[in-house]
Amino acid sequence: MELLAESLSILARWDVVLALLVGSVGGVLIGAIPGVGPAVAIAILLPATFSMDPIVGLTVLLGIYGSSMYGGAIPAILINTPGTAVNALTTYDGYPMTARGEPRRALSLAYSASFFGGVFSVICLILFAPVLARIAPLFGSREIFLAALLGIVLVVVAHRGQTLIAGALAGLGIFIQTIGLEPVKYSQRYTFEQPFLSGGIDLIVVVLGLFALSQAFILLTSVDETVRTTRLRGGLFQGLRELARHPRVAGVSASFGVVMGMIPGVGEFTAQFMSYTYAQRSSKRPEDFGHGSSEGLIAAETANNAVPAAAMVPLLALGIPGEALTAMMLSVFYVHNVVPGPGLFQNDMDFIVALYLALLILNVLVLAFLLIATRPLVQVVKIPNRFLGVCILTLSFVGVYSLRNSATDCLIAAGFGIFGYVLKRLSLPIVPIILGMVLGGIMEVKLRAGMARVREPFDFIDRPVAFILFCLILLVLGLHARRVWSEARDLKGAEEQLRHRPGRFGGLMARRMGALEKARLKTVRARHARRAK
């Protein structure tokens, strides 16, 4: 009770309340504009939050992270374009509902499901916090190294079909963080005798380049699309009642979101697809999925909104970010000398509970805002793409230049912007680079510290948590190897089948038969028309 009172006193400040409002409303707006997304917004705002109190800065960023998915559902449902990448699955059932004249129902369901997912995950984490406080001190240097290694392995294997290039890009991230003055022997690494490289390459410069500038380039080189929005009539409260009719789907999807959010590198996509698959398999009407199923919409929206709070667990408990957004938030902690990890749970539990409570309040604020402001909010999807690109390019300047007032930083960011643009054009992953940079830095320090007390290689995993993590790494690699092997076998089978398929002659015959059938139908229709006259 005392802890709760202390946490509430942290939140009961005007600047924190303002941060909650700005974060929640700003996040919804950013989510609702296709082409911006929370990563771009957080990257731009990151340097501005450095001058704020840690709880204020983190509340703004968490607000944007947590509420952008609410906003992202609006264009996904109304114009079949997800506002943020994680709303892609919402289009499956949300847009068909709009197409059959039920946009209000779809939006209301999406908001209710998102609210349930968000609140469920925060409550789980508040209840789980004391357990984390007990587990976190069991993590020493070796365990944190192995957890970071597990994070990198998970990030790489999570990119199905792109594992090799994801691994190579994670390697690039690890390499980039080593550039500059090495911390122990003070020798230069890959500076090519250039003074500007001695200080290393800043994570925020890379983040801004890869996320914000690349997105600006993508928008500036694209064409403007004509967007037609649907008029919304009536109230938006019916979703809460409909959600109550599907407690199993909502509960299981939120649980998937919480569990998947806690695992580094897995995140919203896996949680959503698992929940969606579960909802479809357990539904009485699986044929409705993809055609406007309320269960499908609930599964997708509940799962993705349960992730942000859960993603804070590895960050706060171990100092290990699970994905790009929490990696950016880590830099806010470092700037304020708040070191996430086991010590934070032991010494600053009130700060952690305050963060969780902020997330809880945020969900209430966002829902209230959306119920009032959805109709005017729909208009933001009409902002032209390329004008949005102009805005992002302008805002990126503040992000990069305000760090050190360095034009060189801006040049490096522009370089990474072009690299990110190429990666986005080729649909290659960007997140492994960021996590490689962050986790690579953690791994370097922790391995060095951990090895200092190790005489034989097996000493490294002689503690229970280290042994469990080591086994988990082996398990993930083993499962991935099995999947690769089965996919290779499947591919071989498919290619074999293709080789023995009827050749071009069969295809030509089929086309000719189709043409004859069409001609016959045309004649019959013409005959009927003549008779009708």
Binding site: G161, F175, T178, L393
Partner: protein
């Protein structure tokens, strides 16, 4: 005809081969530089060697980048690849706009330069209506006020502000 391997490839075909080749080439060049660009300290554990982590990153880049190239279903550079390279070059123009903005802000000042930059780029993108240009100006002004005046983000005053009279000069340096 599209093969099954090509069909199952995640992402578009265009540009993949050029990217994989370029990535591998740069990775190999960087790895070849490891002897000159990093140190090996005698009598120090492998994990504490300054060379260890750059080597880990670069070996991952070379090995996995190489395997990615080997596993690519395409072996020849096509017309689409060349068109894609041209598309990549188009982004350079906007990187140029960005760098021009960066270099001119310390001279002309954040507010005047932003008021020029946003409408000029909007004009370049083909927006000619008065409404959009007015929105551009309003956006530029709002950005400067929000970040420089409200959030006190560190952006130095422009050199031209030195020509302003005393109190106005301080006001401009502090807020715009």
């Amino acid at each position: 005809m599209t093969t099954e391997r090509e069909r199952r490839f995640v992402g578009p075909r265009r540009g993949q081969l050029l990217f994989a080749l370029g990535f591998l080439l740069i990775s190999v060049i960087l790895l070849a530089q490891i002897g000159e660009q990093t140190r090996w300290v005698n009598g120090t554990q492998l994990a504490a060697q300054p060379r260890f982590w750059p080597a880990v990153g670069l070996i991952m880049m070379v090995v996995m980048g190489g395997l990615h190239l080997w596993r690519l279903p395409w072996r020849r550079v096509s017309r689409d690849d060349r068109a894609e390279t041209w598309r990549w070059a188009q982004a350079l123009e906007f990187a140029g706009w960005f760098m021009a903005y960066v270099l001119l802000v310390p001279i002309l000042g954040y507010l005047p330069m932003t008021l020029i930059f946003v409408p000029a780029l909007a004009w370049r993108m083909g927006y000619r209506s008065r409404a959009i240009l007015a929105i551009s100006l309003a956006f530029a002004f709002a950005v400067v006020v929000l970040f420089k005046s409200v959030l006190s983000v560190r952006i130095p005053g422009g050199l031209v502000y030195d020509y302003l009279p005393g109190a106005v000069r301080s006001f401009f340096i502090l807020n715009f």
